[in-house]
Amino acid sequence: MDRIAQLLDQLDREAYVADPAIATSLHLAIELRKPLLVEGHAGVGKTEIAKVLARLLGTEMIRLQCYEGLDASTALYEWNYARQLLHIRLQERDGHSGPDAEARIFSEPFLLKRPLLQAIAHEGRAPVLLVDEIDRSDEEFEAFLLEVLSDFQVTVPEIGTIRARERPHVILTSNRSRELSDALRRRCLYLFIDYPSFEKELSIVRRKVPGASEDLATQIVGLVQRLRKAKLSKVPGISETLDWASALVVLHASQLTPELTAETLGCVVKDEADLRKLRVEIEAGRLPAGAP
């Protein structure tokens, strides 16, 4: 069996239903040690990829959640000021001071490692670094990240340069809320994850919600697939399908009746206007008309 087939198998064992495109991308990311940029709609399992990869490689996952205004000090390192201050006061009481004391408070025990530095200074097996929702960060941060990703070393003026012993595996995710720079794209492998096909989504539900009967799973997935084609302002992702399936299992449902659908639709459709539209459809008997 070749490596990609093996990887598919391993992913399946980790309860991640992948397709050859995802497996090939992960394989290349591991082999070429290049960052993998994963794009796709909300809730198609982008973040999950990093978690599964870490489990596969038997290593730690370090997550950097991006947001607007995220800056280098929050992502890289900061000095533990409170602890430094305390240390200074204690030193004063004991009558120590001078350059010695300064060197001490600017040493590693006083350094707060943020995700990027954690990934670089990581001991042991190369960790998986997840840079989640990179599109939410500012362009300046993107440029900074690019620098870190290209040489995996960081210089802390008071301590010196810290180099990664082994390049971390880097997964970046983006919801495409803004265009990422060409420079960043050039440096990454690329994977676009679309909404899953009926068959793929069905096997995901089977894997993740084993309590759901075959009938129920088929009906749920069929309906969600139809909803994605309908013009909703908030299209349900896989996580919504799974939430819904779990909710119906808790309610001991074995069939998707119109009443049940109306009561639990909030698990999948999370926009008031969409809900109103769909309730009308249910009352008119057009939903849920079973599997496609």
């Binding site: 490596r3 495109a21 394989h27 290349l28 000021y81 060409d182």
Partner: protein, 369 residues
């Protein structure tokens, strides 16, 4: 075999480059490494691996598929085939009359521009309808757009930034500073709110009925985009087209030339509903609770009003504000009675004129609200 693999990868990269994709030598090297690292045992595997390495954005998938199929099925034919559909890198073609004129007028007018308008001229100009504006007056619009953009960028956000002054003491940095004085905080550091970046999505009508206005509105967008980073620009007439990249040129005349080469239905009919539907389908992810959406159109729509209404509703729900600027609103006897306008109005947070500089100045207030 190996030489074959390399030349194959290089050939594919060259073909992709000729179709407008950004494919560097580093990409070609990665492609070879990817093909060599084992497990590439079938055509399908090779396809997936090369796509992962060479494609950088979803828009390129289609081109990659085409080129890959052509390259591996009929390797010789591709050598001679010209580009079928090129993305970015605009090819200069016969430009539609309206726009190419603008470009050249701009260049030709530079000698006249030396006449700086006197104060009285300026007052008159503020009320002057854009449809009677000359090319040299574009500069006024540009200046205004810059000012609005700066004001937009200066709104305070929830996050803090450290500095020498500000309303609150920044304890961390004060202590950091105090270290050089044996722990005595002699110099205080402060923090203040970071400026919040408003996002703007502008959708500009360039159909025939807007001819007289769209050039100025585009100029406005161009300047706006040049000042704040987060502006996405679209134009539409019968179909929607994203022009953010095209407007990101150092020179406006150049941007216009790019626009006229890339946008093919200038001065055509109007189908606002369909175009907004296309926007909501492909670009709604660029709109969030911080985004101000500005539609610049006279509302003459030949499409289905119900569709327009529905799409406007979707847009309003996703955005912070939905502003409709209508140049016709500047004329005293205009009433928004067209069916399209009627369908759209209930969803608009601000309905304002955009026919002269005073009107654009008022826009500043709406964008900041």
């Amino acid at each position: 075999m190996t030489a074959d693999l390399v030349s194959c990868a290089v050939g594919l990269c060259r073909e992709l480059r000729s179709r407008g994709m950004t494919v560097t030598t580093a990409h070609a090297m990665d492609a070879v490494r990817a093909l060599r690292c084992g497990s590439i045992v079938s055509r399908q595997r090779a396809y997936l691996a090369l796509r992962c390495v060479l494609v950088g954005r979803p828009e390129e998938m289609e081109i990659f598929d085409e080129v890959f199929a052509a390259f591996f099925d009929h390797p010789r034919e591709t050598e001679h085939r010209g580009p079928v559909r090129v993305i970015r890198r605009p090819q200069r073609t016969e430009s539609p009359p309206a726009l190419s004129n603008w470009g050249s007028e701009e260049e030709g007018a530079s000698s006249e521009r030396e006449e700086v308008p006197a104060a009285s001229d300026r007052a008159a100009m503020a009320k002057k309808d854009f449809s009677t504006f000359g090319a040299d007056e574009l500069e006024q619009i540009q200046r205004l757009a810059r000012r609005i953009a700066r004001r937009l960028a200066a709104r305070p956000s929830r996050r803090w930034k450290s500095g020498r002054r500000g309303p609150r003491v920044d304890l961390r940095r004060t202590i950091r500073r105090s270290l050089s004085n044996a722990g005595e905080p002699l110099e205080l550091r402060f923090r203040r709110r970071k400026p919040r970046k408003t996002r703007i999505v502008a959708i500009c009508d360039v159909s025939g009925s807007m001819d007289l206005y769209s050039r100025f509105l585009l100029q406005f967008l161009y300047a706006l985009q040049g000042t704040v980073a987060r502006v996405e620009s679209f134009v539409f007439s019968t179909e929607l087209r994203r022009v953010t990249e095209l407007l990101r040129q150092p020179d406006y005349a150049q941007a216009l030339r790019g626009l006229s080469a890339e946008v093919h239905d200038w001065s055509g009919g109007t189908r606002i509903g369909e175009c907004l539907a296309a926007f909501n389908r492909d670009w709604l992810h660029r709109v969030d609770g911080r985004t101000v959406v500005v539609i610049l159109s006279d509302g003459w729509d030949t499409g289905d009003p119900a569709l327009l209404g529905a799409e406007m509703e979707t847009l309003r729900h996703r955005s912070r504000r939905l502003i409709w600027l209508n140049p016709l609103l500047g004329s005293p006897d205009y009433e928004p009675l067209t069916q399209g306008m009627q369908a759209a109005l209930p969803h608009v947070s601000v309905f304002a004129p955009a026919h002269n500089l005073t009107a654009l100045r008022a826009l500043e207030r709406h964008l900041l609200a």
